[in-house]
Amino acid sequence: MAIECLVLGAGQEVGKSCVVVTIGGKRVMFDCGMHMGYHDSRRYPDFARALALAPSAADYTAAISCVVITHFHLDHIGALPYFTEVCGYHGPVYMTYPTKALAPLMLEDYRKVMVDQRGEEEQYSYEDILCCMKKVIPLDLKQTVQVDKDLVIRAYYAGHVLGAAMIYAKVGDAAMVYTGDYNMTPDRHLGAAQIDRMKLDLLITESTYAKTVRDSKHAREREFLKAVHKCVSGGGKVLIPTFALGRAQELCILLDDYWERMNLKIPIYFSAGLTIQANMYYKMLIGWTSQKIKNSYTVHNPFDFKHVCHFERSFINNPGPCVLFATPGMISGGFSLEVFKKWAPSEKNLVTLPGYCVAGTIGHKLMSGKPTTIDIDKDTRIDVRCQIHQLSFSPHTDSKGIMDLTEYLSPNHVILVHGEKPQMAFLKERIESELGMQCYYPANNETVSIPTTQNLRINATEKFITGCSSTPQTGNNAQKQNLGFGGCTEARGILLMEKSKTPKILCEDELLHLLGMEKHLVHFEPLPCSRMKEAESTDEPLLSSRIEEVKQSDGSAVQQASLADLGCERNE
């Protein structure tokens, strides 16, 4: 058996994450994202290739066993309404509770940007989003879901954004994990990724920061706050282009806290009513935030922002300093672009950009070098005199985190997705040389085939099981408990194969009893020269043997002595 892994998106790039994995005859689509850098057919994964994997299947529903979405970012979910409502996939779709709750906000916000402001042809409607979300089955963390008779999936905490999950999937004995995006260190409102150690054939991991190792986050947060504070105290305006959810809440918590401490009165605005609405969701989903927030939310809910207020469109031209969160992120259009056009020409103002912007967006242009002018379209050119601050903290794990997780999970094979080709090549080398695992980083539309281990199912007698699980279990209980596997003890027994019966494992004495066999002891001793001579001269037994003899008149009586013998052997 093998695991076939077709990368439809985020292969040697960031954007439109989508991997279709065929495992034991089941086909799972992990993520169904869109690429924000493209406005043509390249924005969606090439779904037809997934259909081609199953020549006998009439449609997507027959071809794909289930779709699992890891989190609500558009490059992981943006193509889902298109896939279910336009391509007509009607099978099960799984995502965590927060993702199911928050995804419609993200999808609708971006759909509006595309259709209303960019004037693009509608790919899917608001109704499509609602219909699509109705098909979604919510998942809790660690909940084991039997998708069908053979396929099992389970979600683990991934950090990154609220509700982000790593997905474990298993068919028969073949098992794998798809990480989605994850963060190995806790941030202001989320915990670090957490997963059990399991026996895995394959790990598919993101590799956004395949080569970067980050130092302390606090210093970087201070850097950001300092830049914002400096700008507003100089009378400037700060534009923070961001998506409605995730990073926005993280930065809001950071700023709100700072404003409180520094006693600042300058307004912090949020462009749409989204945070207000989003905060309602965040309060119900407190269980998915960091332990620190969970412990204290009843006294102080960090999503009750004191200093954040609603922004009216007319405020754009108001004088005086302010901080504005505007959607969408990366300044790929919409309101953040509108504000950018107005504010960019003043050197007093500041634009903060996330650590990563997709190629093709204005954010990306601002980050590559320091352009003085930017062409929005063929008629619009903007002078860029404002300052640009790039956030250097990120909800993605760094390369150390990727290596740590990979080593911890110890899969047989690793596939890298969601990264840039040269860095991925570097990380592949490290994983292969340092961890000794096969590693691949296929491009879009390429397939990687992974061999899997297979187990035989046989029976074992109770005596065999209890015999080996009860022996040396004391002492290191605590240590064992931390491992995904429970007791791990050496077992000795006999495999009995009888015609037309399931093979069975039993204890030696059970076999003696069953088949009337006998035991013949063989003792190994070194050969001293004197013994040779002695042997030639006498017929007496050489030594008063240390071996305890086991006398058995016939196989029917298993004697105490033989049990004791087995026992002492195990302790060797």
Partner: protein, 606 residues
Amino acid sequence: MKLTCLDTSDGGGYYMPASHLLELEGLRILLDCPIDLSALTVFSPVPLGAFSDDVGDLIRAVPYYRSPTAVAAAKAGGLDAVLVSSATGLLGLPFLTRLPSFVNTKVYVTDVAASMGRLMMTELVEMHREFVRCYGPDMDGSPVWIEGEKVKKLLSVLQKSGVEYDGDDLSALLPLYSLANIEECMQKIQHVKYGEENMGEHMVDETNTFPFSDSVFRDVGIAEGGNIKYLCSNDDITEEIERISFICSCINDAINSGGSVLIPIGRFSVILLLLEHMSETLHSSNMKVPIFMISEIAEEMMAFTNALPEWLCKSRQEKLFSGEALFGHVELLKEGKLSLFPHLYSKGLLAAWKEPCIVFCPHWSLRHGPAVHLLRRWRADKRCLLVLEQGVDAELTLEPFMPLAIQVLGCSFLSGIKVGKIDSLLGLLKPKLVLFPEGLKSLCPVKEKQPWSFLYYSKGKTVEVPNIREEFEVRLATELAFGLQPRQLDKTIAVAKLRAKLLVSNGQYMLAPAKSQPEQSERHLLHRETVDPSRALSALQEKGIVCSSPADDDNSAPTDRERTISVTSPGEALVKVASERTTIYCDDEKTAEHIYDALRSICNGI
């Protein structure tokens, strides 16, 4: 496997679920550990002044509580694990976790049950403080009242709840645990998520027991928050809603007549539903009446119940997905119709206080908490209403407040599974064997053609459960299977020796290759044919070993006599063969192995 029923839930219902001890393969597992508060009724509520209340023969002292039967069980044989199925099943656990023998015990509780249980225990301890403030802290030794006449009454109450005492043995009475004990208890708990499979290294047998008890919370058992249960038909829900509506109409009447309403009910699900329905009835009748919730934990509990969508029924979850609050109290709080205060003497309560009003507060035993004080205030007012839960001994509960003019409404709510649903539950689970309470035997008669059989248990007795399973399924790694050397014994049977690592992962056994082969100075062959020492020499020679036997000229000797063979090639060795044992003297491992192989061929052994 053995099952001992430590406590049944008869009478206790929701507040005191049953508790069992399961013993399997030497592991002792406690199922639920509730607290029995029945002793509380024999104590007098804190008096207002020294002689202000005629409390009859109630004990005026800091109450003691019945020690959970599980404590005795834990002391007797220790416990390996505790599984808790609901918040009320957790309330007795701090009595256990402070025992020194509890250090290595694992406790598994669902996320929600653990959080709610912690809040309920905190509330209990906070209310208990009222007594301590009144009577002073416990001194060493037994309290004074233990010698008095009142003890008899206490014992008779306890006996009613099924506790058997020998004479004046009061060792089964304990002072309440402290906040520190609760904290210690919470530290022990391993949280379990909905639908999570959790297999500690101890849980190697009967793994199917565990997923069941984990998922019980949402599917079968008492679900919090007005949850629609999997097995609950719409009829049950309608019934429950009708009950709630009836209570609301009674509340409405009382308010209309100018009276206040006191609701000392401890079930959160009922409180949440009442709040929702009440806001509707009050809204439709256009009444402006303040609703107070007075409890140490009110604020935390209200915030918490709006943050557990994963554990609620589908229709509640839909509220999350459409961005609405999960329960109606969020809106009530926002509009200022519902106010939360930790204590009766809280700053702000006095300012907000207005009668008539509706007050939710603990405790249903009417022995401590704000309910005691409010009932004293309103007991003579016939316009007022007290909503009590049925099942508690109303006469005894109300004794210290007599005479009463206030109206009392006794209500009962659904807790646990209805008898009629048992069959469909079993049909769903398809067990081979069902352990059923003896006392309820008549309610669920054995029918013909049922694929499962019943075993009956009763309180305090241990039932031996026969082991149904004889063989276990094991997965054998292919790489391990390839390394085996099977030997054909006859036409139908082949056997192979197996050395492996036994792993347990998610309740499945897995045999993986063991690490390096250790040096062995002693092995044994298993064989069916006899080992004939006289054949040893030729067998070795057949394998190309150059050897001779100094004694083999003696052909008249019996065949099972020990033979000595000296080997010269491929290495030097000396072999002594007898019918039951062989000794190989050899310095070279390869040669020794070669000789061992030859021996195997004599007897077709493994």
